[in-house]
Amino acid sequence: MTGKDIVRLENVWVSYNGTPALEGINLMVGEHDFLGIIGPNGGGKSTLLKVILGLLAPQRGTVTVLGNPPDRSRSRIGYVPQHSNYDHDFPVSVMGVVTMGRYGKRGILKPYGKSDREAAEKALARVGMLSHAGTQIGQLSGGQQQRTFIARALVSDPALLLLDEPTASVDSAMQTDFYELLEDLKQEMAIIMVSHDIGAVSVFVDKIACLNVQLYYHGSREITPEILEATYKCPVQLIAHGDIPHRVLREH
């Protein structure tokens, strides 16, 4: 442990009822890393997030987050779940949602206090949502809801931010704003983002890993066609990064 590793997975194996979900995963994420993990649905992306969060114990291998087992580091992990996981009509305000992120700091039976409210306001200001603090969560646009959930993750002052399919609910016009926000957050924390949207991820992240039960990780955002093919089991379009982002189509 160098003291710089935020997340370290060594030879992690997970299977559900004998069907492998993750096979021999090795992964290291350092401070200020912005890692994008792409792969097909059912490729184990959510499973990998659960392992990092300590919600799922691997059958083999070791997981450390901030030098500890993940469940002991949970208060330093900010988690932004998939958009679809909650009831949009739920009677709670933006402020109420963000304050929930302070639960780990408070613990059971202790009510939220002034410091929690101040932290929530700070996090909302950070994502540019303070003026919506009193709005019911479901009345926001997809992009605004996204920001609210990022604020909920930020309010606990995390060293690691985990985002599960964050672009699914954000229209493409808002996506640039969203990535600029992440770019800014990267100065203070490591970010792992999981997505099936290859195009969006590859423009903004520093490193890309491809996950389909096995992890193809090269520590940079150069992905070769071979890696993508191995991940998706079919020919895939490649996006090249240059002054003008453009797509390179393989011969087929």
């Binding site: 779940p81 009677p91 039976l109």
Partner: protein, 277 residues
Amino acid sequence: MIMFEAFQFEFMRNAMMAGLLGSVACGIVGVYVVVKKIVSMSGSIAHASFGGIGLGYLLNFSPVLGAMFFSLLSALTMGLVTRKTKLPEDTATGILWALGMALGVIFIGLSAGYAPDLMSYLFGNILTVPVSDLYLMAALDLIIVALAVAFYKEFLLLSFDEEFGTVVGMPVNGLYLLLLCMVALTVVVLIRVVGMILVIAMLTFPAAMARQFTHDIKKMMVLAVVFGMLFTFGGLWISYMLNLASGATIILLSGVVLLLTYVAVGLRKRTKVRFTR
């Protein structure tokens, strides 16, 4: 004549008190039942309590205490089965619902076939609530309110986003069991008011109606308690005037008002949309 008035005053006072106590429990717990979407599960807990009513008749103790024992037992069973096994939630709901009722029928059949005021447990009779039950209802209300205040932030997170609750280290399964037990206690509070068969309506209607008027869960609880009282007192008055069964009248009144609110809110939204376009 003076005696009659006093008597009338007393039973009406008891009925009002029962309505008040019932409204507090169903207003607070009903909000969680509605936002956490455990309506049918709560219906199952309520119906399974019939087994306890039957057991009370059979073994000659208070059927209300029997109902409390059975509804708590079914709440815990339901919670554990849905969290720890792969049995789907609605299957567990159906099984417990039917088992509890079947047990009740068997127990009552075994108890020499005579069950005085069985109908009042099934369909409620707010006018005959004994004072001893009022004390029990008040005690249960106190427990429910204390738990709702103490675990406010936990139940809010549990209802809104359980997965996130787990991630931030909240004991979600334990809290879920506790919430189901609070539903079970509410069933007991409401049995005398509207009866175990109609309890589910009082757990749902006031909260569902309150939801139309606010986006704040605390205000929603206060409103649900107020609506519960209005429905209970209004239904009680109508049933008295028209000589109808009190429990069913309370439910019908709440149902009609709730539907009218939905229609009114729907119409208002449509007009708004038309104008903004």
